[in-house]
Amino acid sequence: MQWIPEYRDDVPRVERFTWLARFTHWGHTVTFLLCLFTGLILFLDGVNWLAAIFGGYAGAGWVHRISALAMTALIGFGIVFGFKGVLIWIVDLLRFGFNDLKFLVLFPLEFFGFKVNVPPQTRFNGGEKGNSLVTPIMVFLLMISGYIMWFPGYFPASLVRVAYPTHDIAMIFATVMVCMHGYLGSFHPGSGESFWGMWKGTVREDWAKHHHAVWYEETYGSMAGEKPKTILGLPVFEEYKSKPKDAE
């Protein structure tokens, strides 16, 4: 049995994520998981053995706070130095269209291993677009509510009381997304190749053609270099009615 798809350097590969995107992603992964496990200690009403791993409750509290600061710094770093990449990401999210809806409808089947015919996807498929929307919003809520809980004296008491359930709910939705994202980006046989996109920066060319046909064609394939159709600077929600020829 195979855990994740093997890394193949004997086949053509195309770049998926830059060094900066990967650095921010994995930095965010480490700080998020540290915050998650130190935070779960309190969410689950005092898990002593989990606290012990971080040197007790006070230690876990400091790991939580320092990780949160590091996460904030990393997000700031990623946005400032990877601003263009963030814009490209947002523009791709704005291309949410019929093919993404179809993807979301078919996805549960694909998730459990049924063979489905997914329409061509852009750089991020319908599910990834959903994750790209939910996770940053939840992380933003976590940051805001977290700093309010850290320094409650500086905020109105009613806001502090809103911050408590907000921090928990945002944690739960973010963690659900992280669980699914982590599984799909590694152990899931269909999409596991994307792990190498985030680890080494490249994915198999045939995988890119198959899973992100629109992105592949626009970036490396027949349409590379062409400007996408835009209205008022925003890309038109243009969908490919059929797969590009050479993707077959």
């Binding site: 195979q2 709910i169 739960i172």
Partner: protein, 267 residues
């Protein structure tokens, strides 16, 4: 064991603040010196080193000019206490006689209780990063003594005893006050928040004494403790479980259809 509590009678209190001093003395609390704010009240609120204060409310009264309404303020030892629910470490417990006890050994200083408390009583002691509050002198009571404040009260405004008996006494006293110049006299603490383990005889309505009329546990705190904490979290094991099922089914189906190799997905 029946609930044991203090009955505070505002009509007898002279605001001498001996209770504040006795509390500091018994609990070995250092002085907490506050700037003068233009009235006789020494502290605006409880703090990490001050478990009880006497509120000195100056209330306009058309007949008498100004009413000076005193109220001893401290932890109310609510029978259904929000702090007990909100504390993630289980540092709060209820004694069988109704006191809400806070264990500093378990406390991690998160201050959830400070904001969950409808009276805002538990306070953060910065130098230890712990919460502190009135203990209803549980150590004294279990040794057969009355709380320090009730023991020291010279005008007899504080009386410690069985809660049900004290309620009866309070009813008689309120009837007397209502017939003798205090028509709005009332008892505070019988039903508020499901019952407080601190009883007040007030010569006027609670708002004239700086106490919340019909206090409620905050909706955000109830939502957080009764819904988010017990139920929402189950989404996470559901996501993990679905991933585990998918891990197996994707591989089983790939084995079944050999034309669909595992490493390639559905290429």
């Amino acid at each position: 064991m029946a609930n044991m509590t203090n009955l505070y009678d505002s009509s007898k209190c002279t605001a001498c603040r001996a209770c504040q001093v006795a509390c500091k003395n018994w609990n070995q609390l250092p002085a907490s010196i506050k700037p003068f704010k233009g009235n006789y009240q020494t502290h605006e609120d409880t703090d990490g080193d001050t478990f009880t204060i006497v509120l000195m409310n100056e209330v306009d009264n058309a007949a008498s000019g100004v009413d000076w309404n005193f109220a001893k303020f401290q932890c109310m030892h609510c029978l259904d206490a929000a702090c007990v629910k909100a504390c993630p470490k289980g540092a709060y417990t209820k004694t069988e006689w109704g006191a809400t006890i806070h264990d500093p050994e378990k406390c991690i200083g998160c201050q959830y209780c400070t904001y969950a408390c409808p009276f805002g009583v538990p306070k953060h002691r910065k130098r230890e990063d712990k919460i502190t509050k009135c203990t209803l002198c549980a150590d004294r009571v279990t040794a057969g003594l009355a709380p320090a404040c009730a023991t020291t009260c010279a005008p007899g405004a504080l009386k410690f005893g069985d809660r049900d008996q004290l309620i009866e006494e309070a009813r008689d006293r309120v009837n007397y006050l209502q017939a003798n110049g205090f028509p709005n006299a009332t008892i505070y603490g019988i039903n508020e928040l499901g019952g407080l383990n601190k009883l007040y005889i007030l010569t006027d309505s609670p708002d004239k004494f700086g106490l919340p009329v019909n206090p409620k546990t905050y909706g955000t705190i109830n939502f957080w403790q009764n819904w988010v904490q017990p139920y929402f979290g189950w989404l996470i094991p559901v996501a993990l479980g679905a991933s585990a099922v998918s891990f197996i089914t994707t591989r089983l189906m790939a084995d079944k259809h050999q034309e669909h190799p595992v490493e390639g997905g559905h290429e």
